[in-house]
Structures are given as C-alpha cells and as structure tokens.
Amino acid sequence: MKKLTALLIIGMMTFTNTHSTEIKKKVDNFTLEDYNGIKHSLTDYKSSKAVVIIFIATQCPISNAYNERMVELNKDYASKGVVFIGINSNKQESVEEVKEHAKKNGFLFTVLKDYRNVIADKFKASVTPEVYVLNNALEVLYHGRIDDSKNKDKVASNDLRTALDAILTGKPVGTNETKAFGCTIKRVD
C-alpha cells in the first residue's frame, strides 16, 4: 500500500516528457493479448488519428455504467480514424470473464487483458474507467474521465468527446486532465 501511495504521488510526473509546442507526457509502446490470444501493440495503430485507451472492469458498477457509452463512442469515432482499446488490469477478472463481458455488452473494440497489471503500472492508471488519448507519437493528449456523471441523464460535460473533437480538427485539447470517482484497479500483491 505504501508503494501505491508513493506511486500515486510520484507517478503523475514519471512519463517521459517531450518538447514540442507544449510539454506532453509520453507513454512507451507495449504489447498485450486480447481475449482471443491475439497480440496487439500500440505501434500497430500508428496510422490512426488517435488511440483511446480505456482501463475498464467487468465487475465495477461505475465502469459498467459506461459500457453503452463506450460502444457509442467507438461507433461515432471509429469511422473518423480513432481507435478504441479497452484494457482490463483487475487481478480478479479472468480473461474468460473479460471475453464474456465484451460479448455481452457488444464491445466492437479490442479489449486486452493486462495480467499482473504491468501496463496499468506503466500508465499509472488507478481507476476504472480511466481514459488516455494518444497521438501517433504516443503522446498523451487527454487523460481522465469519459464524462462527468455515471448517470447518463445527468452528464453536463462530455470531456472525452470534446477532446476527440478538438484532436480531429487539429485544435489543442482545452481541458486535458479530468477526474471522477471510480473503482480502484485491483492489483496483484
């Protein structure tokens, strides 16, 4: 737990910084298998306009409250060149459960199983759902929530959509860090 506390405090600063017009955090490429055992790397998606990584869960009610919205987001933005990837890093959620959950909820985007939460650790992801939007240089253009309410009818700020719309029109993302309550990613001890 002490390690996790330290991670939380230090973690926000440990992405590699790159110098462009503004300082952006950058993530390293990784390779993970999806629930069918097929390998996926971030570099596979270099030709996309943006890659949306969402740390998700099968058992967290908050993450599940966003299942329908994730399906809609993928539907709305896939044709515009945005790739959506779900990552399940929870230790207690098996690959079979991840597959069943994806099928049941109609996820047409790739869902990867992150055994031993290696990628969650690299990203310093701690909650589900938690979003990272990357450009093809693997720079983080947006990090945070999908929107500001688990209750779809109470959403006032569609943060992920706003960020994607800005990216697709070549504009800077106004609010590139947001927060929301969610379930902790259950890590290996």
Binding site: M1, T5, I9, S126, K179, T184, K186
Partner: protein, 174 residues
C-alpha cells in the same frame, strides 16, 4: 366473570413483562437502527478537517457501488469500535448519489450498526471535491486520508485496507 377478568389481567401483565424483558436484553438488530447520515459539501469537508479538537482523523471515502469499499467496510467498523474515541476520529464519506441515500446507503449502513460519523458528499463538481482532499488523487475509491491533530494531511492511499493496516497507519501519526 371475576375469574375471566383475573385471567385476562394476568395474561396482559405477562405480555407486558415479556415485552419489557425483550427490549432490555436484545442486542439492537442492525436493520432496526436507522443511522444518521448528513450531507457534506467542500466547505463542510474543510471545516471537518480543521476542527480537530486534538484528535487524529481517519477519513475514508467509499460508495455502496464500489466492491472494494464494501469489502473494506467491516474492518473500518471494527477499527472504529476498537481504536479509542478520545484520541482518534473515524469518518466515512459516501460518494453515492444523494438520491441513493434511502435506497442504498442507509440499508447498507444498517447491516453494521456503524460506530462512526457518515456523511454523503453533496458535490457540485467531482473534481472540486477530489482536489479538496488531495490534488494528486484521481478519484479512485476506497481512498483513505489521515490527518494529524492539527488538521495536516499525513497520508493518503487508495485501495482496500485491512484492520491491521488501518491500525498501523493511524498509530504512525503522532
């Protein structure tokens, strides 16, 4: 007639006596104790943290929809029962929707007969509430914040804790 009247009075006295014994001897069932839950906003939260009265504060943020929070809750109840009120204050802040107070939060609390103050967050913007507690926190729960007797935050962590871990963290704060 007198015999019937005497019998009825006797039966009535026996029923009253039995009822009195039950109310004295029975441990109150959780379901019958309606816990007091108060709404709290960012200002109330700051005041709660500042008004220490010499006590160390353990503030736990949880929700009924959060499985690791539900898993942790019995250990928090045990902690509050054993830690000693004169030196420590335990507070739970639920981030359930205020609309879920009667339908979810109170029924959940009734299972435990909770021996500490519970608030439900009255949130304008989630981020303001989150940042009031710690700007490095991204909202993952359960989250536990410990303040010393001057109201300074001494630790903050996320994830399920055991009773022993709670004790260890509290005892490390002077």
């Amino acid at each position: 007639m007198k015999q019937i009247l005497f019998f009825n009075i006797l039966m009535l006295l026996l029923v009253i006596a039995a009822a009195g014994c039950n109310s004295r001897n029975m441990e109150p069932a959780g379901e019958n104790v309606v816990p007091e839950v108060t709404f709290i906003d960012e200002t109330g939260l700051r005041n709660l943290i500042a008004n220490r009265n010499g006590k160390i504060l353990l503030l736990n943020v949880w929700a009924t929809w959060c499985p690791p929070c539900v898993e942790e809750f019995p250990d928090l109840v045990k902690l509050a029962r054993n830690i000693g009120e004169e030196k420590y204050e335990i507070v739970g802040i639920s981030v359930d929707e205020p609309d879920d107070l009667n339908g979810k939060v109170i029924p959940f609390l009734q299972k435990y007969v909770v021996p500490f103050k519970v608030f439900i967050a009255e949130i304008g913007k989630q981020e303001d509430f989150i940042n009031t507690l710690n700007s490095f926190w991204n909202g993952a729960i359960p989250a536990t914040f410990i303040y010393d007797s001057t109201g300074s935050q001494r630790s903050f962590s996320i994830g399920t804790k055991s009773y022993e871990q709670f004790i260890e963290e509290l005892k490390s704060v002077k």
